[in-house]
Amino acid sequence: MCAIAAPEVFGSDEMGNATVLIDGDIPAELQAKTRRAESNCPERAIVITD
């Protein structure tokens, strides 16, 4: 789901587990999508630190 909401930020491995594609800070133009991915993750697996 996160890979759909923010495909530039989240990918997935062959098990379907999420992977983070970006090293370092999330660029400003991707922040809204990243926050949406975080608030929709059913496993609360995404943690955003400001």
Binding site: M1, E14, M15, G16, S39, N40, C41, P42, R44
Partner: protein
């Protein structure tokens, strides 16, 4: 079933998930229970169960697998003799598995459902949807459930499993008997016998003639800790994929079609903002989550003040959790661009639906294709829609005109 149904006196102590009004629209009952002083209702019907309705409680139960086990996940007890006979041990891994076996039961099927793997089904699903629409587009009317939704998941899962698409009608009949008409024990027995015999034959054929790039061939030859997986596991996984992959998804597609037929403003919103599709699908899944899963209590426990006993059945009513105002603002309203949507249509925790990526793809493609070809349509008669209920909620007859 010909016995007379005793009317429900009190939802909180005597709910009946098969009562016709509840089947048609369970949400008012969920709401009543959720807002009462006792948000976990109880019934003695069908050998008894508990019905939590709050998001927090449903999620806690899904997460606490040591207390709430998966040895029974259907909303009613097993049919008499279910565990007996040569293949009585065949269950439906991983949905019926508990740790530690759950781990490898699930791990072996995850790759076929990864986003990259399911993407391969996009074009084929789109072609199928177009073919179904071709059949009805000149008639000006169609049954969105029986003529459209119902045909999509069964053909997709048959393709995934590498089994004959021409058997669509048989697969559909078995799945309905196994899951929809769940109070009919003879039907369940018949369905199970057919499903197991069918997959036994499929496995035997592949033993003789292994196939390249074939799910069942790969599964039968997989090793775990140096040993080839037991045949019961292969049969069980095939059983699960057929049943879980079909009834659930077509219910979701059907409910979405039922919704779209009544909401021209949402059809317009999607036409004008196609970027909204992913968020819109999640919102529709939240609103019309088709599946309720059960758990069996492992040991006597007091949960939120309820005295649950070992062996008790607990119904994780994901559709109820998805309408909890404590978790979702305006929960009974479809807001296609809803920002915060941590819904549990696919469950939560170690058993969260492994097929969710495929389900999402099917629902999205089914809706997108229909809306492209038939942008304006409406329900012929809102009072003439029939619904399936119990384990899975979705329309079975939904006439639309265009």
């Amino acid at each position: 079933m010909t016995e007379v149904r005793k009317p429900v006196q009190d939802l909180l102590t005597d709910y009946d998930i098969f009562e016709p009004e509840f089947v048609k629209d369970p949400y008012p009952s969920f709401s009543e229970i959720r807002e009462s002083g006792c948000p976990i209702a109880r019934t003695e019907r069908y050998e008894g169960s508990w019905l939590p309705t709050r998001y927090e409680d449903v999620v806690a139960i899904a997460q606490e697998y040591e207390t709430f086990t998966s040895r029974g996940i259907l909303v009613v007890p097993p049919f008499p003799g279910q565990g007996e006979g040569a293949y009585g041990g065949v269950t439906a891994p991983p949905i019926t598995s508990d740790p530690p076996d759950h781990h490898w039961h699930r791990r072996l099927i995850l790759p076929v459902f990864s986003p990259q793997s399911v993407a391969k089904f996009e074009q084929g699903t789109r072609d199928l949807c177009n073919a179904l629409i071709d059949e009805v587009i000149d008639k000006g009317t169609a049954d969105a459930a029986a003529d459209y939704a119902q045909h999509i998941p069964v053909r997709v899962i048959a393709t995934l499993l590498g089994v004959p698409l021409e058997m669509e009608a048989d697969f559909t009949a078995w799945v309905r008997a196994a899951l929809e008409n769940i109070l009919d024990a003879e039907g369940r027995k018949w369905a199970r016998k057919n499903i197991i015999e069918f997959f036994l034959a499929q496995v035997a054929e592949r033993k003789q003639n292994p196939r390249e790039d074939d799910f069942i061939t790969e599964l039968m030859n997989t090793e775990v800790e140096g040993k080839v997986v037991p045949i019961e596991y292969v049969l069980g996984v095939c059983n699960l994929m057929l049943v879980a992959g079909v009834d659930t998804t077509w219910s979701a597609i059907g409910s979405c079609m039922w919704h779209m037929a009544q909401h021209p403003e949402h059809r317009k919103q999607l036409r004008e903002n196609p970027d909204l599709w992913p968020t819109a699908i999640e919102e529709l899944l939240r609103m019309y989550a088709p599946v309720t899963m059960a758990r069996i209590v492992d040991h006597d426990v007091e949960f939120q003040g309820c005295p649950m006993k070992a062996g008790d059945r607990v119904l994780m009513a994901f559709p109820a959790a998805n309408r909890d105002p404590r978790q979702f603002e305006n929960p009974d309203e479809v807001i296609l661009d809803r920002e915060h949507n941590r819904h549990v249509a696919f469950g939560s925790g170690i058993h969260r639906c492994a097929g969710s990526n495929l389900a999402r793809l099917e629902v999205r493609v089914a809706l997108q294709t229909w809306l492209e070809r038939i942008p304006e349509f409406e329900l012929v008669d809102k009072t003439d829609v029939t619904w399936a209920g119990g384990q899975v909620h979705g329309p079975r007859k939904c006439l639309v005109s265009f």
